[in-house]
Amino acid sequence: MSAPREISFPKRTPGLDPPAQGNRGSRILAPLRAEGARGVAIAIVSTVVVFAVVTIAVVSSSGWPLIRQSFFDGAVFAEAFPKIVDKFWRNVFIFTVAEVLVLIVALLIAVIRSLPGPVFFPLRLLAAAYTDLFRAVPTILVIALLGFGAPALAIRGVPSSDVFWAIVALTFVYSAYVAEVYRAGIASIHPSQVASARALGLSRQQGLRSVVLPQAIRRVIPPLLNDFIGLQKDSALVVFLGYQEALRTAQIIQSENFDFTPYVALALVYVVITIPQARFVDWLIARDQRKRQAEATL
């Protein structure tokens, strides 16, 4: 055998690699970079002017003092914020446990829905019915049905705690959404990957576990995190069961003070935990796009 010719090959297309600094994948700022220094200056000036005009218009309006008092009362905020954050850990517990369960239950449902062959028809039917049902029924209704209904049955051995049933309800609903996300990911893996695994003698399950799922899961992380942001917000629906979590706490302080600042404080907490996750998803998507572009130019 003659030695194979050594072909030099670009490791990565340099222009597509992210710069070391400055690029955090922001869509809002991206057009500015193309404009250069003059564009940035114009953007700063126009931003300052617009925000100044809006602020002056709002603050000088006749209704502003009343709005400030009802929604942005500093004293009420100082009292409410620590209490709300304290109870918000209960929401964090609920959605964290639900998220872990959703990851498992949804994967199970997605795998069942992609089982081939007539033998599995009843299982596929059940899985499809599950996703249809729990995407159709409003989350708050599922929480009410399970949170009030299940403990009312007073079956021995079944917990009656609000938190337990809130977690179960959120898991049921969000597993239906996330199962569809997983299923789209599984369907996006090219059949040649499965053929390749089978050709090497791997069984269907081995191919699914070692070849299809690792690629599918990586691909669906951004949409999956999006659904998790929704789940985190929906943990506030537990208030409906009378459970003393963050929103309930805000409600109590609001009714004591006849002031809506506690709601604003809680909204702020949600914004603070959600925005980093949203930016992280953007970053993941941007990274994925860069990777695909790099592959396309190869």
């Binding site: 194979p4 990957q193 053929a195 089978r198 050709a199 003698g201 070692s210």
Partner: protein, 250 residues
């Protein structure tokens, strides 16, 4: 012809929808023989190879490997595939695994080799194909020719009795074709039994013990390569080779 029959195909039929792609293929490959299948795109070469590997169910006929009818009911498909390796036109490496893990996946999962034994086998094969420095790279870091050689190594790591190659250079840049064909040449010299679908006529002439011309879903003509290329008996074979020469491919 020498040695025992590694693979025998009798009256193989295969349709997709209403279209009959294979209309009674008969073929024999002996141990240590290299058979090249030539024929126009759509003549059924790829379908035949996929049927032999049981990736496509067949409609009628028999496939016998090492004396076992693998098309009879109750055949363990996974066991059959352990004996028949296949390399695809589009490489189909697993992009989420390194070169080494691409190669060791099936030996550890299917043959139940220990990680250490599988690694040793993989490194040995990689060294043979001048790829030992690529073991820890991901496939997207490799050139097409390197990827295809890794795919060959991945198939060989299962130590198959027969290797099927499905137009393995058709997706490659012309400059990368040679390194892959050289690898196959070396395998042929070492006595690997192979059934190769190819458009590379020069390569087929060099490496094949026999050439089979597939046309319209049957093997129209087969024979020793020099005679097939210089003096084909069938008018269909002649017409095909004339077109290949006119296209500058031979």
């Amino acid at each position: 012809m020498s040695g025992a029959v590694a693979l025998r195909v009798d009256g193989l039929h295969k349709s997709f929808g209403g279209v009959e792609v294979l209309r009674g293929v008969d073929l024999e490959v002996d141990d240590h023989e290299v058979v090249c299948m030539i024929g126009a795109s759509g003549s059924g070469k790829s379908t035949l190879l996929r049927c032999l590997n049981l990736l496509e169910p067949i409609d009628a006929g028999r496939i016998v490997i090492d004396g076992d009818d693998i098309t009879s009911a109750g055949t363990d498909q996974n066991a059959v595939r352990r004996k028949i390796g296949i390399v695809f036109q589009s490489f189909n490496l697993f992009p989420h695994k390194t070169v080494l893990r691409n190669i060791t996946l099936a030996p550890t999962k299917v043959l139940r080799l220990s990680r250490a034994d599988a690694d040793e086998r993989a490194h040995g094969l990689l060294a043979r194909f001048d790829l030992d420095d690529k073991a820890d790279d991901y496939p997207d870091r490799l050139s097409g020719g390197q990827q295809q050689r890794v795919a060959i190594v991945r198939a060989l790591a299962m130590q198959p009795d027969i290797l099927l190659l499905d137009e393995i250079t058709s997706a490659l840049d012309p400059v990368l074709v040679a390194e892959v064909l050289d690898a196959i040449r070396e395998l042929a010299e070492q006595g690997m039994t192979m059934l190769i679908a190819t458009h590379e006529m020069g390569f087929a002439r060099d490496v094949a013990s026999r050439v089979a011309f597939l046309h319209g879903g049957t093997i129209v003509e087969e024979g020793e390569p020099n005679r097939m290329f210089s003096d084909p008996a069938e008018p269909e074979t002649r017409r095909f080779l004339d077109r290949i020469i006119a296209a500058g491919r031979m």
